[in-house]
C-alpha cells in the first residue's frame, strides 16, 4: 500500500499530462473556434436586417439558457440516434465551441458598440468600405476592451472542460477520477486535480495582465 505522499507524487505526473494533452488542447481549440463563431454571431446581431439579428439573438438565448452539460450530452449521446456518430473529442470541441460562441458574441458585440461612431466615419472618409473599417479600425479597438471579459470566458472554459470526462474524453479530471477509483483516495486525488486547475488559471490570469498591458500602449494613463 502506497502512502498518501507517494500516491500524490506518482499521480501528479499523469494528472499534469492529462492537463497538457487533454484539457489545454481542448480549451484552446474550442476557444479559437468559439471566438470565430462569436464574431460571426456578434456581426449578425448588429445587422440591420431583422431576420439575421433575430437568428443571432435566438442562438445566444438557447446557448445561455441551457446547461453546458446538457449541450454536451445532446451532441455526444443525442446525435447518434439521428445517425450522426462522432468520436468523443470532436463532440466536446463542438459543444464547447458553440457554447463559447454564444457567450463571447455578447462580449464582442458590446466591444464593437463601445468604439465611437466617429471612428467608423473616419474610416469611411479615408475611403474604406464597412468591412475594411471593421477590420482595420474597429476590431483592433474593440479587442482592447474585450480582453478582460474574454479572459474570463477562457478561464471558465478551461474549468468547464472537466465536463468532457463525462463523455469519456481523457483529460485532467478523468485521469484523477481513474486514479481515485483505483486507490480509493478520493479526497487526495480531487484536491490534487483542483490544485492543478488552479495553477493553470493563475498562469492564464498573468497572461491576461500582459496582454492588457500590451494593448494599452496607445491609451493615456
Amino acid at each position: 500500500m502506497e502512502s498518501n505522499g507517494d500516491l500524490f507524487w506518482s499521480s501528479l505526473g499523469p494528472i499534469v499530462l492529462g492537463g497538457i494533452t487533454g484539457t489545454i488542447p481542448l480549451a484552446v481549440v474550442s476557444f479559437i473556434l468559439g471566438l470565430t463563431i462569436a464574431l460571426g454571431i456578434a456581426l449578425m446581431r448588429l445587422s440591420k436586417v431583422r431576420v439575421v439579428s433575430a437568428i443571432a439573438r435566438f442562438y445566444i438565448s438557447v446557448i445561455r439558457g441551457t446547461p453546458l452539460l446538457v449541450q454536451l450530452f445532446v451532441i455526444f449521446y443525442g446525435l447518434p440516434s439521428i445517425g450522426v456518430v462522432l468520436p468523443a473529442w470532436p463532440c466536446a470541441v463542438i459543444a464547447f465551441s458553440l457554447n463559447v460562441g454564444g457567450y463571447a458574441a455578447e462580449v464582442i458585440r458590446a466591444a464593437i458598440l463601445s468604439v465611437p461612431r466617429g471612428q467608423w466615419e473616419a474610416g469611411y472618409t479615408v475611403g474604406m468600405s464597412s468591412a475594411t473599417t471593421l477590420r482595420r479600425i474597429i476590431l483592433p479597438q474593440a479587442a482592447r476592451v474585450s480582453v478582460p471579459p474574454l479572459s474570463n470566458t477562457f478561464i471558465s472554459l478551461v474549468k468547464d472542460t472537466s465536463l468532457a470526462s463525462l463523455i469519456t474524453v481523457t483529460e485532467l479530471f478523468r485521469v484523477a477520477q481513474e486514479v481515485a477509483a483505483f486507490s480509493q483516495e478520493f479526497m487526495l486525488l480531487y484536491l490534487e486535480a483542483a490544485a492543478v486547475y488552479w495553477i493553470i488559471c493563475l498562469v492564464l490570469s498573468t497572461a491576461q495582465g500582459r496582454i492588457e498591458q500590451r494593448l494599452d500602449r496607445y491609451v493615456a494613463h
Binding site: Y124, T125, G127, S129, T132, Y218, V219
Partner: protein
C-alpha cells in the same frame, strides 16, 4: 488668396461640386429643405449659421456620410448622383473618393501612430506604394510642424496637434475637395490659431475647401464665398465683405449681431 472684389461668376466648367435642391430629413425633422450650392475649383466656401441650421449635414452629405433624400450632386462634371433614386454603395464611394473630411473631434485612429494614421488611406485604400506614402506623409507632417511626432500616438498630442494630423490625413488622400466640420470648435482657445493658420495656407495654395465654422474673422479672411444657413435653407450667400459686413437679410443680421455681441 483673399480677393477684395467678388470673383466674376465662373461657368459651371470649373465647378468642383454643384448641389441642386438637396433635401434631407431625420425622422419628422426636415434638416435640409432645399439646398443649392456651387463650389468652384480653387475657392473656399465658408458655411456659417446657428446650430441646427443644417450646415454640418450639408458637409456630411458631400462626403457620403449622410445620404440626402432628394436633389442631386454633380462632381466636377464627371459624376452626377441623383438622390431621388436609391443610391448605391458605389456612388457613395465615388463621392467619398473625391473629398476628405476633417472632423470637429479629429477622429484620429487611436491605435495607430501619427504616421500610420496618415498613410492608412493611401496604402490600404488607394494601394499606393508604402515607401511613397511614407515620404509623402513626412513631407506633409513637416509642413504642419509635426514631423518629429510621426511615431507618437494620438493621446500623446495636444488637441491642436491632433487636428493638424487630422488635416494631414485628409491631404494625404489628395482629394479634389477638403471638407472641414468646425475644425477648431473642440480646441482650447490658445490652440485655435495654429490650426487656422494651416487652413489659411491651404487656401493660399488654391485647395478647394468647404468649411463649417463659427470663426467669422477667419471666414472673412479666408473664404471666397460665405454661405449663411438657417433652418435648413441658404438665407444668403456671397463675398464675405458683403454677407458679413452688409447682410441683406434680417436673419443674417440677427445671427451676426448675436455672435459679435455675445453679452
Amino acid at each position: 488668396m483673399s480677393p477684395t472684389e467678388p470673383r466674376p461668376a465662373a461657368g459651371t466648367a470649373d465647378a468642383v461640386l454643384t448641389l441642386r435642391n438637396l433635401h434631407k430629413s431625420f425622422g419628422d425633422t426636415e434638416v435640409l429643405k432645399s439646398i443649392d450650392l456651387t463650389v468652384r475649383r480653387g475657392t473656399v466656401v465658408a458655411l456659417i449659421g446657428p446650430s441646427g441650421s443644417g450646415k454640418t449635414t450639408v458637409l456630411r452629405c458631400l462626403n457620403g456620410l449622410e445620404v440626402p433624400d432628394g436633389g442631386s450632386v454633380d462632381v466636377a462634371g464627371e459624376l452626377r448622383i441623383d438622390f431621388s433614386k436609391p443610391v448605391g454603395k458605389r456612388e457613395r464611394a465615388a463621392l467619398r473618393d473625391r473629398s476628405a473630411m476633417v472632423f470637429q473631434h479629429y477622429n484620429l485612429f487611436p491605435h495607430m501612430t501619427v504616421l500610420e494614421n496618415v498613410i492608412e488611406g493611401p496604402v490600404q485604400v488607394q494601394r499606393r506604394p508604402r515607401a511613397e506614402a511614407i515620404a509623402d506623409a513626412e513631407q506633409l507632417l513637416e509642413r504642419v510642424g509635426l514631423r518629429e511626432k510621426r511615431d507618437a500616438y494620438p493621446f500623446e498630442l495636444s488637441g491642436g496637434q491632433q487636428q493638424r494630423v487630422g488635416i494631414v490625413r485628409a491631404l494625404a488622400l489628395r482629394p479634389q475637395l477638403l471638407l472641414f466640420d468646425e475644425p477648431t470648435s473642440a480646441l482650447d482657445p490658445e490652440l485655435v490659431g495654429d490650426v487656422l493658420s494651416v487652413i489659411k495656407e491651404l487656401a493660399e495654395e488654391d485647395w478647394t475647401m468647404v468649411i463649417v465654422t463659427h470663426e467669422l474673422e477667419f471666414a472673412r479672411q479666408v473664404a471666397d464665398e460665405v454661405v449663411f444657413m438657417a433652418d435648413g435653407v441658404v438665407v444668403e450667400h456671397g463675398h464675405p465683405s458683403q454677407v458679413l459686413k452688409r447682410p441683406q437679410h434680417e436673419r443674417t443680421r440677427q445671427f451676426l449681431h448675436r455672435l459679435l455681441n455675445p453679452f
